[in-house]
């Protein structure tokens, strides 16, 4: 197959999927990788996986605090317990994968978002949707090995997102294809939460 034809087909799929701008990855994390693996794979992976680790640590802290103080009951509590255990496992796996390259844990501040069940559920939904978008949007930069690790996590984040959306009465799967954002936008959303100083 000629490269031109392949590109045309890929573009057709992207257009049909409504994926816009997602390939304009760059800046904050790393420049988009060419198809041939580069020698700085490890460095690139470390940047992206550290970003994933940051998100996982935010979620671990968020669920732990909510389980302590939000007065969660019933299935909402079950959700928080399950998600908390999963995020801890994700963080452990990422720390293991990163080794010495793992960054230090951030300082976290969830304000009143863990103060009661209603605010917890709303914030959990935002956090899980953000997590799905983050993994999908940064996948382009990953080496095959790191991509495989991330792939085992992203669908679990999507399950969490659907679960909490359903619990809140929102549509669990609001789009036919997952929206993608630039890493810059995802980082800005995370910063905007005030959770990470």
């Amino acid at each position: 197959m000629s490269p031109d034809l392949r590109t045309t087909r890929a573009q057709a799929l992207r257009a049909a999927l409504g994926a816009t701008g997602g390939l304009a990855v760059g800046g904050l994390l790393v420049a988009r990788r060419p198809e041939v693996a580069r020698s700085d794979d490890d460095e690139t992976d470390a940047d992206v996986l550290n970003f994933a680790l940051l998100l996982e640590r935010v979620q671990v802290g968020f669920y732990a605090e909510a389980l302590r103080r939000a007065g969660l009951k019933g299935e909402l509590r079950h959700f928080a317990e399950v998600a908390h255990a999963h995020e801890r496992a994700h963080a452990r796996a990422l720390v293991h994968a990163l080794g010495d390259a793992a960054k230090a844990a951030p300082k976290l501040d969830f304000g009143d978002d863990t103060a009661d069940a209603r605010r917890f559920a709303l914030s959990a939904e935002k956090l899980e949707d953000l997590s799905v978008a983050a993994y999908n949007s940064c996948a382009d930069d990953l080496s095959p090995i790191a991509l495989a690790e991330a792939g085992k996590i992203v669908s679990v984040e999507a399950r969490h997102a659907a679960w909490i959306r359903d619990l809140r009465g929102d549509v669990p799967a609001p789009f036919a294809t997952e929206p993608r954002h630039t890493p810059e936008r995802i980082m800005a959303t995370l910063k905007g939460s005030g959770y990470v100083s």
Partner: protein, 225 residues
């Protein structure tokens, strides 16, 4: 809530025609299957990193046809259950929205494949779309399978653009899976990590089903890359 559904796809399949369709519709060659067998049991990590799995020219199309087969199956399943009007309340709402998603996935993958997409298969779900309980159990199996299959195949794509596009379908299938699992009364997210399935593993699972009756067309594409 129990941790696992009480049914897997193998239980609802009866005569194994789905595997045949996947092989035909999906453009999966015996070589692909054998390669899957070689990789069987290996992690996605190993599969993605294996030079052989990077594939010869045209392997992206084979993966897309495989994805199309899964999407055709799901789209037909949801479309038929809606037509049969056996679902009510939350289950009906789920089928309405998810059915539209699966049809959109079919359209998107078909468009990407162009003339190589081939015909639309016909399915016989053997009563699984005529009973709400049977439908939901089967849908749980389909959605979990789709998540695992995309996870197994997407990283094998040579085109990064196609990879990114399929990943945006992959996580939506995971949302569908969690949604239907909750409707079925099982934990929406049963494990911290979702395991991938290889082509071979996926085919073995669907081999046990008996949902695919005929292919309307098995025209070979005018070129195979």
């Amino acid at each position: 809530m129990s941790a696992e559904p009480d049914l897997v796809l193998a239980d609802v399949d009866r005569d194994g025609a789905l595997a045949e369709t996947l092989a035909g519709l999906g453009g999966v060659t015996r070589a692909d299957v054998l390669r899957g067998a070689v990789l069987g049991g290996a992690t996605l990590l190993a599969a993605a990193a294996t030079p052989a799995a990077a594939g010869a020219a045209g392997s992206d199309d084979a993966i897309l046809r495989f994805a199309l087969a899964l999407e055709e199956l799901q789209a037909a399943f949801y479309t038929e259950v809606e037509r049969n009007r056996v679902l009510h309340g939350g289950a009906a709402a789920q089928a309405h929205i998810v059915g539209a998603h699966e049809r959109a996935h079919v359209a998107a993958v078909r468009k990407a494949l162009g003339r190589g997409a081939g015909g639309t298969p016909r399915f016989d779900f053997g009563g699984a779309t005529e009973d709400a309980e049977r439908f939901t159990r089967t849908a749980v199996a389909f959605e979990d399978l789709a998540v695992a299959a995309y996870k197994g195949q997407a990283p094998r794509l040579r085109s990064r653009e196609l990879l990114m596009a399929l990943l945006t379908i992959h996580s939506v299938e995971a949302r569908h899976a969690a949604w239907i699992r909750r409707l079925h009364g099982v934990v929406p997210a049963p494990a911290a990590f979702d395991a991938p399935r290889t082509l071979d593993q996926t085919e073995r699972v669907v081999d046990a089903t008996h949902f695919v009756v005929t292919m309307r067309s098995r025209r070979r594409p005018p070129f195979t890359g």
